[in-house]
């Protein structure tokens, strides 16, 4: 019995040994199969992952392209600046507070900012740097460099900051740059360049619209890193490509002069080449300083700017609309002639025009006037009568022919195009028929008519040259625009009228060019802001005073430059706007004479634009400090 069991046991052991051996062999085969799968069929995939581990790119932001004027003069350039970054992986996170204490002391970092830096360092991994301070003075840069042995992971760097030599004069035109926002970062599919410290993108104006051309290609320093972020060696770098230089049609000197010439007033001044449409100056004042915006604007500065009743945050060349007033009269004269009205035909002006039971006032009693005289004296009665005769729709057609109410193909962030009304428009908008009273209001540039200053400049240019110019901001375009289909004799009537306005006994007689042999033609306009019963508005608050407008061109005999000026609440075109146009055109022919008279004026305004900008920054600082005094945390330094 026992022997049999012994025998059975031996057999059982052998069988089970076979089973165990077979199982082990199976596992062995499975392991080899798995190894083969990983290293043959998955090889490419894992090779990529290993390479991703090993090599990391440190993005080198490209230098932003310059913006220059038509002569190559700088409008937006880069200045050498100092900055300090932190590389989270190279920092000893247990001693981070000791390092931050030292940095806070060396760089005057405020507590809010310190917290931001700390949070970013603690939450980030990899080789991506965190910005500690930007645009610091050389002293602070040097101080950090000296203490570097105590600051592992801290990198003082030389970078670049955007610099706009003309400051506020170009603010609205070129915009400014700043660190990308979360939305901008996401809009570019989380492009890592956008969160690289020191990299800034265009935020407004040309900096924003020309971003693609100005940005350039980022470079990369390829480095081999250990898992802990220690640099093993640098591999072949990929060089960055600077952004392209963008040349504008602008004349930087003229533009800055125009901005300065507006002085303390609020308004816009545009100068066009009336043969080609090139924008030579396009100033809106007052304006913010793009230099301080690009460094990250403080809360106080933002508040002071947005509370200012002269609206320094609004680009008044494109985004502000004004009733153009009498500046539309030369345009209307073209429409009237187009309807066959003889410019010699006279209308008697008794000081107004009776339409039904309403009396539409003129600004004076001009007696018997023809078309020429009506433009020169800005006689409303003439245009009331003639407008009533032809109807407003034909005048609206001419207005549109001269681009009024249109938007332009310009690299701008936004443009307000205003309204040139007609009967169809009124029906659509108000569901009421057009009335003769509407015609009378519209023909003198009131009522429903509102336009932006650039449209006025283009209208002036088209009348001056007879060419279908469109405003051009980028690039130099020497080729004159094609002629409009408006008979030269018609244009001559309008131009003669405009000549008389300035050089005859017209409304802008005080604004003749102080130059030999060069004359300006023009037309003043005064737009009522509020219906005033009487008086010239001198004793009403600034914001209820009339706007002063002026359009013009020069030289009269061979038009080359067109100009439009709007001075908000300037109490009349001849008083406020025409002199600005005169001085700006003077600058084009006699720079020294224009500068001399400007400097005299600036003395009365409390200093040049640069001095006043510096004073404003000081004021911002004082206000911020006064606000900060009660609480220990200053509120400066958050982006706007």
């Amino acid at each position: 019995m026992k022997r049999v069991t012994e025998q059975n046991r031996e057999q059982l052991f052998s069988r089970r040994m076979m089973l165990v051996g077979g199982l082990q062999a199976t596992f062995g085969a499975a392991l080899i199969a798995r190894l083969g799968y990983l290293s043959i069929s998955q090889n490419k995939y894992y090779q990529t992952l290993a390479e991703d581990n090993r090599v990391q790119m440190i993005i080198v932001p490209p230098r932003r392209g310059w913006i220059v004027d038509r002569h190559g003069a700088p409008i937006a350039i880069n200045q050498s600046a100092f900055r300090v970054d932190a590389i989270p992986d190279q920092m000893d996170k247990e001693n981070i507070d000791r390092e931050l204490d030292l940095l806070t002391q060396l760089l005057d970092i405020d507590p809010e900012e310190r917290q931001r830096i700390r949070d970013e360092i603690m939450s980030k991994s990899g080789y991506r740097p965190v910005q500690v301070a930007d645009n610091i003075p050389y002293d602070q840069y040097a101080a950090v460099t000296v203490r570097l042995p105590e600051l592992p992971g801290i990198e003082p760097m030389r970078g670049f900051r955007r610099f706009y030599p003309a400051g506020p004069a170009v603010g609205h035109l070129v915009g400014y740059v700043g660190a990308a926002s979360r939305e901008e970062y996401e809009a570019e599919d989380n492009n890592p360049l956008l969160v690289t410290p020191g990299f800034k993108i265009g935020k407004e104006g040309l900096e924003e619209t020309l971003e693609k051309r100005l940005r350039g290609q980022p470079g990369g320093q390829r480095v081999e890193l250990t898992a802990r972020g220690r640099l093993v060696r640098e591999l072949e770098p990929k060089p960055d490509r600077s952004g392209g230089t963008v040349q504008l049609a602008l004349d930087a000197g003229l533009h800055e002069f125009a901005a300065r010439r507006m002085g303390l007033e609020s308004g816009a001044c545009i100068v066009l080449d009336c043969l080609t449409g090139e924008i030579l100056a396009m100033a809106s004042m007052p304006a913010y300083d793009p230099n301080s915006f690009s460094d990250g604007i403080g809360r106080t500065e933002w508040r002071l700017l947005s509370e200012n009743e002269r609206r320094p945050l609004v680009n008044k060349t494109l985004n502000a609309l004004y009733p153009p007033g009498s500046t539309l009269k030369p345009m209307a004269s073209l429409a009237l002639q187009g309807q066959g009205i003889d410019p010699e035909e006279r209308v008697f002006c008794p000081g107004g025009y009776q339409l039904g039971n309403r009396f539409f006032r003129c600004l004076g009693k001009h007696g018997s006037v023809d078309m020429n005289r009506a433009i020169a004296k800005s006689c409303n009665t003439y245009f009331y009568a003639m407008g009533h005769r032809v109807g407003y729709d034909v005048i609206a057609d001419m207005a549109r022919k001269l681009t009024l109410g249109a938007t332009y193909d310009l690299p701008v962030v936004s443009q307000s195009y205003g309204t040139i009304p007609d009967s169809e428009w009124k029906m659509r908008k108000y569901d009421r028929p057009w009335t003769s009273a509407d015609t009378l209001n519209a023909i003198i540039g009131q009522g429903y008519v509102i336009l932006n200053p650039l449209q006025l400049a283009v209208m002036s240019g088209r009348i001056a040259s007879g060419r279908a110019i469109d405003p051009k901001l980028v690039g130099v375009h020497p080729k004159p625009a094609p002629l409009l289909d408006i008979p030269t004799q018609h244009l001559d009537v309008a131009r003669r009228g405009m000549w008389q306005v300035v050089n005859g006994d017209g409304t802008a007689g005080a604004s003749r060019l102080p130059l030999d042999g060069i004359e300006m033609g023009g037309k003043t306009g005064t737009a009522q802001v509020r219906r005033l019963s009487s008086g010239d508005g001198r004793n009403v608050p600034w914001k209820y005073r009339d706007h002063g407008l002026f359009i013009g061109f020069a030289p009269v005999d061979k038009p080359r430059f067109a100009v439009s000026v709007v001075i908000e609440h300037g109490m009349g075109g001849s008083r406020a706007a025409a002199p600005v146009a005169r001085d700006v055109l003077t600058y084009l022919y006699d720079r020294e004479k224009a500068m001399a008279s400007l400097e005299q004026m600036e003395e009365q305004w409390g200093g040049s634009l640069k001095q006043r900008t510096a004073a404003f920054h000081q004021h911002v600082l004082d206000v911020a400090n006064a606000n900060a005094a009660p609480s220990p945390t200053p509120s400066e330094g958050d982006g706007a």
Binding site: F13, V20, Q24, S39, Y46, E51, R228
Partner: protein, 370 residues
């Protein structure tokens, strides 16, 4: 023909050659993962390896009867050490596993692996053959396994505990316990897994969950496994070349000198190196199984088969772990990974295997297989 002394010629040279080859590969990989330096691992590991290989050859000359008689003593001693670990244990890596002897850190659960197998073999040798299908064939063995496995589990060292249990169960299986016992046991275990899971430490639970879905957390807890697979997969057929493994040299591969040394080796030597190493282990295991089959007494049979199976579990669980076929349980690759305890266990086991082999050869007076 070179004349070698008879005792030297009788040594099982093929298996010793395989052991030295695998050990050398391990030392070379340790040299590489240290960034091309003998310090801090290769030199130490090399001396431990040579010393213990000497010990293994010395054990070969021990009579099996002596080993047999020492087995219960050794079992009790190691059990005592396991209890001592609980009392004066050294806390490292979240697990209490070592007793620091000053010159080396002793991991008693490692010793328990061969000693348990020997103890079970001894038990089944003493058990009358007719009792093998009785209850008394089961419960003492279950107790012999359960006590050390339980002590290891509470350390907590899930991996070693599992290997202890698997090794013990393998001996029980080979001893001839009824097959239904293992089938129902297997089914019961499968059913109990969800329950057991809830008793595991959180880090152990996480390891298992991450094994099931390693990509869920590639930078966190799944990091080890992801990086290990990257190291193996990026090596390709021929590897990146010796001393050129970026994963291990740049420290992306964690524990490249211990648990994940196979990945570090394959990264540099490729599929070819990996397959050769697996075949090397297969050669040792095959030899071990042959020793068991050739053995002519019950203790020798069961001990040899059990020790071989232990070694198999050791190698297989580690390789499955680094290739993403099993959860990361923290078992080193024997003879290759840095660490004294594992080398000691494996070489002592091989010493005992050689002793058993010598005995069966002497008994049958057959020429040495080698």
């Amino acid at each position: 023909m070179i004349i070698v002394p008879r005792p030297v010629a009788q040594l099982p040279w093929r298996v010793i050659f395989l052991i030295i080859a695998i050990g050398t590969m391990g030392l070379m990989t340790l040299y590489s993962t240290a960034g091309g330096s003998l310090q801090p691992w290769a030199l130490r590991q090399g001396s431990i390896f040579i010393a213990l290989l000497g010990v293994a050859i010395a054990i070969r000359y021990m009579p099996v009867s002596f080993i047999k008689s020492m087995t219960p003593l050794a079992y009790l001693a190691v059990l005592g050490l396991l209890v001592a670990v609980e009392l004066v244990g050294f806390v490292g890596k979240g697990a209490q596993r070592w007793i620091d002897l000053g010159f080396m850190k002793l991991q008693p659960s490692e010793f328990m692996k061969p000693v348990l197998v020997l103890m079970l073999a001894r038990f089944y040798e003493l058990l009358p053959t007719g009792d093998i299908r009785k209850w008394r064939a089961i419960w003492p063995a279950a107790a012999l396994i359960g006590i050390p496995a339980g002590l290891t589990m509470i350390q907590p060292d899930l991996g070693t505990s599992l290997v202890l249990m698997l090794g013990g169960i393998a001996v029980m299986f080979l001893a001839g316990l009824p097959a239904w016992l293992f089938i129902t046991g297997g089914l019961a275990t499968a059913a109990a897994i969800p329950l057991a899971f809830s008793f595991l430490h959180e880090y152990q639970q996480r390891r298992i969950l991450i094994f099931l879905d390693p990509e869920s957390d590639p930078l966190g807890a799944g990091y080890n496994l992801s990086q290990s697979k990257i190291a193996i997969g990026s090596g390709g057929v021929w590897g990146k070349g010796y001393l050129n493994g970026s994963q291990s040299h740049l420290q992306y591969l964690p524990e490249g000198h211990t648990d994940f040394i196979f990945s570090a080796m394959v990264e540099e030597w490729g599929l070819v190196g990996g397959v050769l190493m697996i075949l090397g282990f297969a050669g040792i295991l095959g030899w071990g199984l042959r020793v068991a089959r050739r053995a002519n007494d019950r203790f020798s049979q069961l001990a040899a088969a059990g020790l071989t199976t232990n070694l198999f579990f050791y190698v297989t669980i580690n390789l499955m772990m680094v290739m993403g076929l099993a959860p990361v349980v923290g078992i080193p690759l024997p003879l290759v990974s840095f660490g004294g305890s594992a080398v000691m266990t494996v070489l002592l086991s091989i010493g005992v295997l050689m002793a058993i082999d010598r005995k069966s050869q002497t008994d049958t007076r057959r020429p040495g297989w080698g």
